[in-house]
């Protein structure tokens, strides 16, 4: 009941994800990976079409091929961000693993390509950057730090209704004591301890 009330209150006012939401990280990661592959294929088709057309339409001094190759990094970053976002949405409890699987269609070719040329350092740098962009996408949960800070500083919230509420028909008042730092409230990635203390 505490969870339900907490969930209702928090979802109503702070728009946090449900406590029990989410699929397994592997399923979420595979779904995100499928999206990554689709987006990569779409980008390949669009860029191929644009480059093919530009061979006939480019004016002197205009270089569409260079433009596409410059845009490629930005597009890859956006695809990674989208994949991480999907992974984080589908599996809010273990977004790190889901993101790793989700961005792997981009991560693995990039890393293997650099490793194949014997460039271990570049492989590590590019791999970590890709993963971090995915993680930033995955961390885009609705409950932000600013929302968490909106919780009163003494970590108390008033609830209405509730199990064993006041028998005179008036709303029961209660105090929630949160045993973690306010910054961590929005994450719901661990056993947040919530105690309901009736005050009236």
């Amino acid at each position: 009941m505490v969870d339900a009330q907490w969930s209702e209150h928090v979802h109503g006012e702070h728009l946090l994800p449900p406590l029990s939401a989410g699929r397994s990280p592997v399923v979420a990661g595979l779904a995100a990976a499928a999206l990554t592959v689709v987006l990569l294929v779409a980008w390949k088709l669009v860029s191929g079409w644009y480059i093919f057309g530009s061979a006939y339409t480019d004016l002197p001094g205009q270089d569409s091929l260079a433009l596409v190759s410059r845009l490629q990094l930005l597009v890859f970053a956006l695809i990674t961000l989208a994949a991480g976002r999907v992974a984080g949405l589908l599996c809010p409890t273990r977004p790190g693993i889901a993101t790793l699987i989700g961005v792997s269609p981009l991560l693995l070719p990039a890393v293997l390509l650099f490793l194949g040329f014997g460039r271990t350092l570049e492989a590590a740098l590019v791999g970590s950057l890709v993963y971090l962009i995915g993680l930033l996408g995955a961390s885009d949960r609705a409950g932000s730090c600013a929302d968490a800070r909106a919780v009163p500083c003494n970590n108390e919230m008033k609830l209405t209704g509730g199990e064993g509420g006041a028998h005179d028909g008036s709303a029961a008042r209660a105090r929630i004591v949160i045993k973690r730092r306010p910054q961590l409230i929005s994450a719901f990635d661990g056993p947040t301890s919530v105690t309901l203390v009736r005050t009236r």
Partner: protein, 126 residues
């Protein structure tokens, strides 16, 4: 971490990715002891972006929001100061490459958005 700050983090990671080949090449030249004439600040700035932007992201991921924001602001202010004092970017703004213009706009927006958000959060808590 708010959405705006997260997007700023992504943007700095993309900038860091653009700097990877340059940083690796310069790093190899330094290790090999090759002589070249570039001032130290110019040499250090891409490495600062390459190191601090991922660290800020990691801190944000670990819910260390304040530290992450401070690092992002440090990256932005370092780049701005370098561009103004050492790079001379403002003297010839129209002739600098597009990437540098993008980073200039990103630096200004990093400082502005994070400072404004921080002020808003402080007001809300108060």
């Amino acid at each position: 971490m708010t959405r705006a700050v997260r997007l700023i983090g992504v943007a700095w990671l993309i900038v860091a990715a653009y700097y990877v080949p340059w940083a690796v090449a310069i790093g190899r030249m330094i290790l090999a002891g090759t002589q070249f004439t570039v001032d130290v600040w110019t040499l250090v700035t891409p490495f600062v972006i390459l190191v601090l932007a991922p660290v800020a992201t990691l801190l944000a991921w670990r819910k260390r929001d304040l530290a992450g924001r401070i690092l992002l602001i440090a990256v932005a202010i370092n780049w701005l100061l370098w561009a103004i004092l050492s790079g001379g970017i403002l003297d010839e703004f129209l002739w600098v490459p597009t990437l540098l213009k993008v980073i200039l706009i990103l630096s200004v927006s990093t400082v502005a958005i994070i400072a404004l958000e921080h002020r808003a959060v402080l007001r809300r808590v108060a």
